[in-house]
Symmetry: C2
């Protein structure tokens, strides 16, 4: 099982869209995929028509029970989606108080990593959609991941945000003694504006080793797909610009993981 | 002094852009404006060329001292900007641990409200840029505000986010026994797409009393302005589409506050 964390402390850069699209593409190929919503705001959960206000099993259950030393069967938290091979571990708005409730306890940084070890046989891929906050949930996602995927817009504020995320990753690398595999993905790229062009050159200059060589273009079909609650892989024709770009990204991620 | 909180738990909807633009317009008219960066990610602080990693005085200092019962002079935290009348209370990345460190203490929800009472004579307007997280900082911003401004994109995921924010506001209203004045502002509106049109109708139907009757159009000058670190009010001609829309928004906000 391969675990990918999709993170960026900057908001609105396409984290949820990247998680849904890569997950949809993998499921369409017949893989078994678990999508994990680590954002108390629950965009990924809403995308699939569920409410993060609901009180049933969610990521919160996993942490609450772990704090009490209790093992939770995956089945009590797992939600099916309408799409073959695509499963969801939903978020709950209760996640917003996780740091306050359990932040001081030891071992809470490895709850997800331990859970993935138990569920390892059931899925081929796990994709974690992170919230824009650096707290216990993001620390868990990073600790449990084989690769960190960082969607980034090519504007000034977004580039500043990337600098800070790379600082954070470097800090965690030092304390865990193991480097992260990182792929930076330019999203919502509008080739008509000069600022985007310059932003991309800036990214090339700063992060040559981590930057994916393609871009995800602006494509209004992503909004239409999210309105319909359907991954764009199951919504738009294969030839759609945004979908083709994500299919190319998936190929490079697999090459990088040595999976081909 | 009037205090406005610019909030939305959904990321990338234009919170920082709205804070900078309204603040710039007010300062250009000769008002004394304090911009407060309540986002540990520090986009507003970066916008004005400062680093949220710097250890000098910031919003964090205010909370840390308040937790110890110590009064902090504003001067030790306040940063000047290059623009007359426009001041900044910068964020610090240390804010990310605020909930973990002080979440359980009493009275930490009113730190900002008390501080604004002391600084009241020095400014005409205070604008608070909130992070996409519902934690102590957002609770403080809401408690200290006379009006809550909610930038919203007109797509499905953003509308879902708005529902949750309105739930949260209703919850806080019940516990404080006083309603919030709320203005919902459609941002990055792209009149060419049908999804945006439908989203706007959806907003009209759901929130007729809180929705501003205009829209902020997509305008690439916002990105250029943020790259230059200059509020669009000091960067683009008065006739620029995005700037004109924000000037119209400012007029309606003042009418609503009975300030005209
Ligand atoms: N390539 C694209 N072209 C056009 N629109 C896009 C693209 N990618 C994402 N979007 C749209 O941009 C908006 C923001 O995307 P998304 O919600 O995935 O970002 P996010 O980083 O997950 O935000 P948050 O910080 O709130 O978690 C959504 O409405 C989405 O449909
Ligand atoms: N009306 C607009 N037209 C075009 N671009 C815009 C507009 N408003 C904001 N932007 C751009 O969209 C991006 C996101 O805006 P901004 O950073 O203000 O959102 P935010 O809600 O503060 O994000 P976060 O959740 O990270 O705090 C920025 O690059 C900004 O320049
Ligand atoms: Mg998201
Ligand atoms: Mg912001």
């Amino acid at each position: 099982m391969k675990a990918w964390a999709i993170c960026n402390q900057k908001g609105g850069v396409g984290k949820t869209t990247t998680t849904v699209t890569l997950g949809g593409l993998l499921a369409a190929e017949g893989r078994r995929v678990l999508l994990v919503d680590l954002d108390p705001h629950g965009s990924l959960t809403s995308y699939f028509g569920r409410s993060p206000d609901a009180m049933d099993g969610s990521v919160y259950t996993l942490f609450e029970r772990a704090a009490g030393g209790v093992h939770v069967p995956l089945a009590s938290m797992l939600a099916r989606t309408r799409f073959n091979g695509l499963y969801l571990l939903p978020a709950s708005t209760a996640l917003v108080s996780l740091d306050r409730q359990f932040g001081a306890r030891d071992g809470m940084g490895l709850v997800l990593a331990h859970a993935f070890r138990q569920w390892g046989q059931q899925f081929d891929h796990v994709l974690m959609d992170c919230s824009p906050t650096l707290g216990m949930l993001m620390v868990n996602a990073l600790a449990a991941s084989d690769r960190v995927i960082v969607p980034v817009q090519t504007d000034f504020l977004a580039l500043k945000g990337l600098e800070r995320l790379m600082h954070t990753l470097a800090m965690i690398e030092r304390s865990r003694g193991r480097p992260f595999a990182v792929t930076v993905v330019p999203t919502m790229y509008d080739s008509r504006t000069r600022a985007a062009e310059e932003g991309l050159q800036n990214l090339h200059a700063r992060y040559p080793a981590q930057l994916w060589q393609g871009v995800i273009p602006i494509d209004t079909r992503f909004r239409n797909a999210s309105r319909a609650g359907i991954p764009i892989s199951h919504f738009a024709p294969r030839s759609a610009r945004g979908l083709q770009a994500y299919a190319a990204l998936l190929e490079s991620l697999r090459m990088a993981d040595g999976e081909m």
